[in-house]
């Protein structure tokens, strides 16, 4: 038992170190190696954080959905812990995306915020999952909180395509994607050094994400252990 915990701790440490390294290399590459954007100049470098942040957030919400479904099916507390950890990180990365986007938007569009489709969509995601966290926090009974949250994790995720469609029909101003576009392959449209910087940055964010997820998951586990101990000792 002690050995496996130690091994787990070690692998977590390695993951953390790798994340740090990848984020550092990604930053170096995106700030110094990649050329400035042809139209936007240096400001565009925020993209190397902006895009990985939102992709990581999407991944996180997908994880909430899967873990919520698993929880409702198997009723195992570990799935609930995972869903909770992923939702919290999803909110964190979405908030980061919005902040980075604002900093990028001010010099390029002249405004911190505009009611464009993609911005609105991202803000709605933040609201939904912030609601998820508040819901969890306001139900005292652990099991009830877990199933209520799992339901919201599922219907929230299924609602996302509809929200996406509706706000897009409503309005669009955000620049169209330059990397993930249907008519051109990524390397035809973007400077290779930019693509490398973005890839490294994305890998860094993924590693960082999974590192944080493992920490947050462990925190949830520890909370439960403390609760169990308290019950056992009657304090």
């Amino acid at each position: 038992m002690a050995q496996s915990t130690n091994a787990l701790k070690k692998s977590k440490g390695i993951l953390g170190a790798l994340a740090l390294l990848a984020v550092a290399v990604g930053l170096w590459w995106s700030l110094l190696v990649a050329p400035p954007d042809a139209y936007q100049g240096e400001v565009q470098r925020i993209m190397y954080l902006h895009l990985p942040s939102i992709l990581t957030a999407y991944l996180s919400y997908f994880l909430v959905f899967i873990a919520s479904g698993m929880y409702l099916w198997k009723r195992e507390p570990k799935d609930d812990l995972l869903a909770h950890a992923a939702a919290e990180l999803g909110v964190l990365f979405t908030a980061l995306t919005i902040i980075e986007g604002s900093i990028w938007g001010k010099p390029t569009w002249g405004v911190w915020w505009t009611w464009d489709a993609r911005l609105t969509f991202t803000a709605v995601l933040l609201l939904i999952y912030a609601g998820y966290l508040v819901l969890r926090a306001s139900i005292d009974d652990q099991q009830r909180a877990a199933s209520a949250a799992a339901i919201l994790g599922i219907i929230g995720f299924l609602d996302i395509p509809l929200i996406h469609m509706s706000v897009y029909w409503w309005r669009t101003l955000h620049q169209p994607p330059s990397i993930l576009r249907p008519d051109k392959k990524p390397w035809e449209n973007v400077h290779p050094a930019m693509l490398t910087a973005l890839t490294i940055s994305f890998v860094g964010f993924l590693l960082l994400y999974f590192y944080l997820l493992s920490l947050r998951y462990r925190l949830g586990e520890m909370r439960q252990e403390i609760k169990a101990l308290r019950l056992e000792r009657g304090i």
Partner: protein
Amino acid sequence: MNLLRQAYLLLCKDLLLELRRRDSLLTMFFFGTLLLFVFHFAFDLPPDKIGELAPALLWLAFLFTGTLGLAQLFQAERDNHCLDALLLSPLDRGALFLAKTGFNFILMFLVELVVIPLFWILFNLPAWNLIPQLFLVTLLGTLGFCVLGTITAAITLRARGRELLLPLVLFPLMIPVILATIRCMETVLKTGGVADAMGWLRMLIGFDVIFITIGVLIFDSVIES
């Protein structure tokens, strides 16, 4: 059709309770009317401008009154542990979901039946002939609201401060319905029909169908004791 039969019986029970006590409907009705007055003071506008704002204002009123209704939706079940008794009976939980959705839908329908014409009277709007079409669109939106609203009311049932939590969780999820309904109503007011807003109308119907299905399937886990 055991499911529908059970849902029908439960719905009758709720309607009978409401008929005897009349607390939800009256409150919702007065609140909806009150909101019209508040809007009038807030936007002191000429009739043609108010006509443009009508869909948005009406929907705000319906959202708020609907939320009021949802907060009361499981009140009868909370009192005296009636929910436990309901769950002990050999009922399909999907039927409970359909009945609660239907009940809230009927309440909101009755409120809308009064509030929409009242809006036209209070703000001197001319287009009386468009009210049936507007009503149809509103009903589709209301259905969507009640479907997701019932699920959220059920999951916030045991939460602290659930009346506050309910709109917090529900409103972001309602954005497709809010957008689609208001755009459809605007198109009706502008062109006299929904032909130009078929995409929005389809989305509205799609939303209703998707979440009714999910609700029936998932309500078993939603409402567990």
